[in-house]
Assembly symmetry: C2
Homo-oligomer: 354 residues x 2
């Protein structure tokens, strides 16, 4: 017999995250056998390049999953909820990038650098990948947790508009064109009037020359869904159901790459030198931390790269068990396509090569 590599399906191949996934697959070319590209019937029939080959996009239906070993879902939550179990029922291991299954007890939520073992136990044949805000911080925090024992996270985000999809990017681009070259931003509501009150795109307020402290939907008691997602997902990934988490999610006028200001309190005292050592060697993390020399991560320097970048690491002045950090991660790469690809590759090694 010839060597057989596992076959892959990419559902949502024509979307924004799907496009990033095709790039990643082309860069990691030796993992997969057949790669089947799938989209809604409306988008099917197009040809997309993957691993140097023009590949026709197939329409999403039950039979398209026959013979597929691993199926990646890069589609809205309702599409995953309907079609993920179908693919799993046809024998594929499903890796889902949406929120459809993240909170289900019988679906593991996996970040390969942090809890790779969790991917093996998947009673429904489905593995979920976290929200992009969780992914922008969990790799760094997970590395420190392994050494010091995490007890509490207090997080404030500086979220990129692409977290709200292509409409978010379009809204920022259009608003920037309206405010650039003006003296706006100095009188109450002047930006809102220039943008148009009903024309703030997916955001509840203008995002150019502004920040918007609301992301996602109303989750009750004053919280947004994005803030609760960070809490729930950090607890699940780290296996710490009692972890204290307080998150505040804020959109900023940045195209891509989420940033996080993090106060992390541990069971044990944190020596900053040791924290630096851990972050400097942790997989998937780049330590960039010499602020007096201008070395700290910013979204515009980090965007388009794979790792989680960490800087501004310092011991809290009033709590030797806590550190402050500033973390940046590209929400379209590690925060979406890359983590799904990494989970899939960790599953690929389970398939026998004979």
């Amino acid at each position: 017999m010839t060597s057989r590599r596992p076959s892959l399906a990419v559902v949502g191949a024509t979307g924004a995250i799907g496009g990033v996934m095709l790039q990643i697959l082309s860069q990691h070319a030796d993992v997969w056998g057949e790669v089947r590209l799938i989209a809604s019937p409306r988008a099917a029939g197009r040809k997309l390049a993957v691993r140097g080959e023009e590949t026709e996009v197939l329409p999403l239906d039950e039979a398209v999953f026959d013979g597929v070993d691993v199926a990646l879902f890069l589609v809205p939550e309702d599409v995953s909820a309907r079609w993920g179990p179908v693919a799993a029922g046809r024998g594929a291991v499903v890796v889902d990038g949406s929120a459809a299954f993240r909170r289900d007890d019988d679906v593991p939520l996996v970040v390969p650098e942090v809890n790779p073992h969790a991917a093996r136990l998947r009673p429904r044949g489905i593995i979920a990948s976290p929200n992009c805000t969780t992914l922008s911080l969990i790799v760094a925090v997970g590395a420190l947790h392994a050494e010091f024992g995490l007890r509490e996270l207090i997080v404030s985000s500086y979220q990129a508009v692409s977290g709200a999809g292509r409409e978010g990017v379009a809204a920022l681009r259009e608003q920037l064109s309206l405010v650039a070259g003006t003296e706006l931003g100095t009188g109450p509501g002047d930006v809102r009037r220039a943008v148009g009150d009903g024309d703030t795109g997916p955001f509840a307020a203008p995002v150019a020359l502004n920040v918007v402290p609301w992301a996602g939907t109303d989750a009750g008691d004053g919280w947004s869904s994005e803030e609760l997602a960070i809490r729930d997902e950090c607890r699940k990934i780290l296996g710490l159901p009692g972890l204290k988490v307080s998150a505040t999610c804020v959109y900023v006028p940045v195209v891509a790459t989420h940033s996080m200001s993090v106060h992390a309190r541990f069971e044990n005292e944190v020596a900053v030198d040791r924290a630096h050592e851990i972050l400097a060697t942790a997989p998937g993390v780049v330590l960039f931390d010499s602020p007096a020399a201008g070395d700290f991560p910013t979204p515009s320097d980090v965007v388009g790269t794979d790792p989680t970048w960490v800087g501004r690491v310092r011991q809290s002045m009033d709590d030797p068990c806590a550190v402050e950090m500033f973390i940046c991660g590209d929400n379209l790469r590690k925060g979406a396509a890359l983590n799904v690809a990494q989970i899939a590759e960790s599953v690929a090694v389970e398939f026998p090569r004979d």
Copy 2:
């Protein structure tokens, strides 16, 4: 005898904060008798409008303070350090907006809504006004402290570029002109290359399509001077030398108005309804908190207004003694000129009207 109102000197009348001060003095026109405008000899001789009168700007020297009851200093730290004691020596009560005296034990640091009594005890005849970042949060936090007893503050700032002066605003305006209408912000360093690596103004990185997690100067152990100022000043104003404070200061592409994501932990349990009541009635605070209806403060809606705006108030899910809040305050009004004017007005009532 006719009624005599106290006389005022405004040192730094020709600067950006001085301009805001002249507006405020025109709005509060009945407090002061003579108003003397003072600037460096280079800027002296100009005429500026205050309270509807063209007033000639006098050069800064010793004799200019003779007969002045209250002298406001809206000048760089080194000018205050040199000339503040001179004015005090001539009998004026000095209210200084710079950092020159904030940390001195024998100079009170005053926010009239929070610690008005402190202004009375001024052994050197000098009263200091806090940093704009401290001022953007202390009025709201002080109101809650009076009821619940503050124990810890964890703060992440979203600071406006005008916190770095006119150069900061100019840098943002110029960078916005370079990035608007482009597809920048998607590749590593593309914004930095468009802006020019050596041309980021007073910031350590581009601020358009970006956020910059560094404000002020290197204060050692990884901290910036702005971060330590928040800690030192909150402790001094609240009279809590043991208060735990961790701040992370980040510039965002906003012209004016600083925003703060605040985790505040108190001695006592915080009922959110009671916190709402306190903030709704606290002097100098506007509660704007119905996020599902789009009601939360943002800098572009708050800029140009006097109060501290508070929204996103919610009890921490894992600590009944802590609340999260999002606070906005105009760094050029309450954060600078307005607080100095309020301190001066609280001193004005000490002068007898016969």
